[in-house]
Symmetry: D2
Subunit: 127 residues, 4 copies
């Protein structure tokens, strides 16, 4: 591996995925396509681009620009992604995505599972 | 968030994905389904299970066990995944997956792109 | 970079550190030496070794085995690390470290800061 | 855990450390203090601040501003950190750190170890 490629590899970022997301996304009603789209959005956010366009997404995915646009809309409607607005330092309004609703729903799912397992535990103890 | 859930969240593992994979998997010929399957395999390996069954995969994915089995076979045939064998300390032969071929192909792709961009650079300088 | 080294690099694990820990460890009363020791312990745990010895730690750190032993003891006494016990499948009792108390203390610190900043917010609104 | 704190935790970044760095920094001649300083610099870079001041570092470390300034200077002289210059889009020259020399030295160390172990292998085969 030559020098430039070596530096490209060693200085690249890593995207960290919570394994609880990997274990439970299908229970949340997410398909693999949608999970990957969310990972792309997260990766763009971490690179400083909070509002990646469907075009940018489709360059990285096997989906067309139209399919990416539809999927983003669907992720918002299904409550996994939110589009927020903010004023920057120059007083310009800009939009950005956040994955906050995804994390809240994942936590809620885990909370429900925990309550269920505690109740089963209790029942089997009482039974 | 109660105590147990808090600990579950803070002590969970993170799966690190090289962003170069995220940017280039589609150029390698991988679909989103296949990328996620590879991430699951990697996650199982890091948890100490080097040979996750199609059944285990299908519990986490939106695909059936049969579809997972077919996809694993295809990932091996297409050269993204290898099934290796090793003797453990008790002299028992066991099989395990490695994603080594995936990384090698990704590096080769990047190498090719670099050579192309260097040649274009050279041509535009000479032109 | 030759083939074996390339594979060694691309297949290595990444240790994920929550940036909130990086930002607040000194407020928790941790020194850099101690932070690194905790990262080593976490890394051993993720590699399947839940109870790394002072000797193993000192091989990776610039500290002697004695200093590592003392530091582990101090991290336990100061409440950042716990030594737990478990029976494995063969009925053998084994000890393992967990960083749970570290995460609980970090969350408590963040909770305190949030309450403070909310109170200041309130006061400045009322003032 | 209340809602805001929960979001703060789940949306924080993770800093990924290659475990090969964790295993070999002391062989490279880095002390724990210096390793943590490099992790802070990396974390600032990933947050979009390529040139963190000694003051910013000392707010996160247990070291004074002067000690942080000295350590940054030493990390540059010892060849683990480089200060580079670039023009931004507005034609303003700005300075930024890169950890490229650290990764190059780590790779060189691993290369050396591999050659040594291959030679020993060869000798023991020939012997």
């Amino acid at each position: 591996m030559d020098h430039n490629l070596l530096l490209k590899w060693t200085t690249q970022r890593q995207l960290s995925i919570p394994t609880l997301l990997l274990k439970h996304y299908s229970e949340l009603g997410l398909k693999e396509n949608e999970l990957v789209a969310l990972l792309h959005v997260q990766s763009f956010i971490e690179d400083g681009d909070g509002f990646p366009t469907p075009e940018l997404l489709s360059e990285r995915m096997t989906l067309s620009m139209n399919d990416c646009a539809q999927m983003l809309g669907q992720l918002i409607r299904k409550g996994f992604l939110t589009l927020d607005k903010k004023w920057d330092e120059q007083g310009i309004l800009f939009e950005y995505y956040t994955l906050e609703p995804l994390w809240i729903r994942l936590i809620q799912l885990l909370k429900g599972e925990q309550i269920n397992s505690e109740e089963q535990q209790k029942e089997s103890n009482e039974g």
